[in-house]
Symmetry: C2
Subunit: 236 residues, 2 copies
């Protein structure tokens, strides 16, 4: 009988599990994003992760367990974005920050957004619970804030839920439909500068659209963002 059920080390062997799980999760995210749960296969994921399929099943016993883990990570990112919409008296500040955050996430983690989209399209077999609890509560709490802005005359009277849908859809579109956007952009991804403009446009149109700011013709940007949008180091 084995007497030493040791606690995991922090040495070579110990890091292997952590490392491999990370590699597998990343591969899984991109395959699930592209093909959805049913359409993805464990072989594809293993291949993407550059490991034998049997090894994948050593770390994640079932496809479903792996998927759940992926979805969980994505939900955490969602929560992170949600936090940036804080209870602030100034709608311009609160919404600008939130939209900007969501746009950043779309750019930095497009696969996650696609997995989420697939989940919803498939009627949320895994995250339905989140939708009914965490998401619903959060949405209602933000609706309260938005209604207060309306009552204070800071924005036009619009129904909070539809404003949120507009923010979600517009920002996530840059992740979920990035292939279409890229195609229309001549086959190349939006540059950093273009993405900056896209972001500013989204913020501008929504904030103006709800009457939070009074934009007049010929002034695209106010000062909602620093001026450093110029060259911004094109990434390859």
């Amino acid at each position: 009988m084995k007497k030493s059920e040791r606690v995991k080390k922090t040495t070579a062997k110990a890091g292997i599990r952590q490392e491999n799980e990370k590699i597998i999760l990343k591969a899984a995210e991109s395959v699930f994003a592209e093909y959805g749960f049913r359409g993805a296969t464990t072989s594809m994921i293993a291949e993407q992760a550059n490991i034998p399929k049997a090894n994948l099943h050593y770390y994640f016993p079932t496809k479903e367990a792996l998927y759940r883990q992926v979805v969980d990570n994505i939900f955490n990112i969602w929560l992170q974005a949600a936090d940036s919409f804080d209870d602030c008296d100034d709608p311009v500040e609160a919404l600008s920050r939130y939209i900007e955050k969501k746009m950043d996430i779309s750019r930095d983690n497009p696969m996650g957004s696609k997995v989420w989209a697939n989940e919803i399209i498939q009627r949320a077999p895994v995250i339905q619970d989140y939708l009914e609890t965490t998401l619903k509560d959060w949405t209602e709490s933000r609706a309260v804030i938005i209604r207060r802005w309306i009552a204070q005359g800071k924005i036009n009277p619009i129904d909070p839920q539809y404003l949120l849908y507009m923010i979600w859809s517009t920002t996530q579109h840059y992740a979920d439909f990035n292939h279409q956007i890229e195609t229309l952009n001549g086959g190349t991804p939006l540059s950093d500068a273009q993405y900056r403009v896209a972001k500013d446009n989204v913020i501008e149109i929504i904030l103006t659209g709800i009457g939070a700011v009074q934009r007049r013709r010929n002034s695209l940007l106010q000062d909602n963002s620093p001026k450093d949008q110029q060259e911004k180091s094109d990434r390859a």
Copy 2:
């Protein structure tokens, strides 16, 4: 099978093919919408259509042929919406009509929108050609119109492509994410009245957002849509 054919075609046999293809295509659309091309199975589609799988393959030799047909139908609907964005001097009229049309399509044909979303997420294996030709040309022609409105001082200077993305994403969101919307709506779909409000909100925010109309606080609606919006025939 059923003897529920009330409307006889010219001859019984003649109408059978047409009728069955329609049933199969409808079933295929909803299954492809939910699971994507890879995730969908011909058995699922056959079951949804209430016919044996072998019969499905009698009408559509391969899964891919069936999928292409589905996608083709959807593209035609897209074209139909595209037509409603006409070369009009008034941005309010042109955009209101276009957005309204897109919202109606999202409501009447949510499955089609989801198939499209899946296609794009999967990098458009089937419609890439459309994206590069028809869609690109259309987008550029609309950009010209939008730039003219800007030059004429009718709307704020925004980049046309990002405006189009916002319209697409916002309107299609009501189809692609209708499950999430329904969940947040307490488990029931948006009523006709709610959908009407959603539509008006979208039109209002975007038109105001680009400076096409000067909305002030406390006046949600103007008369942005024609009179015939009266009852709109409550479905179910």
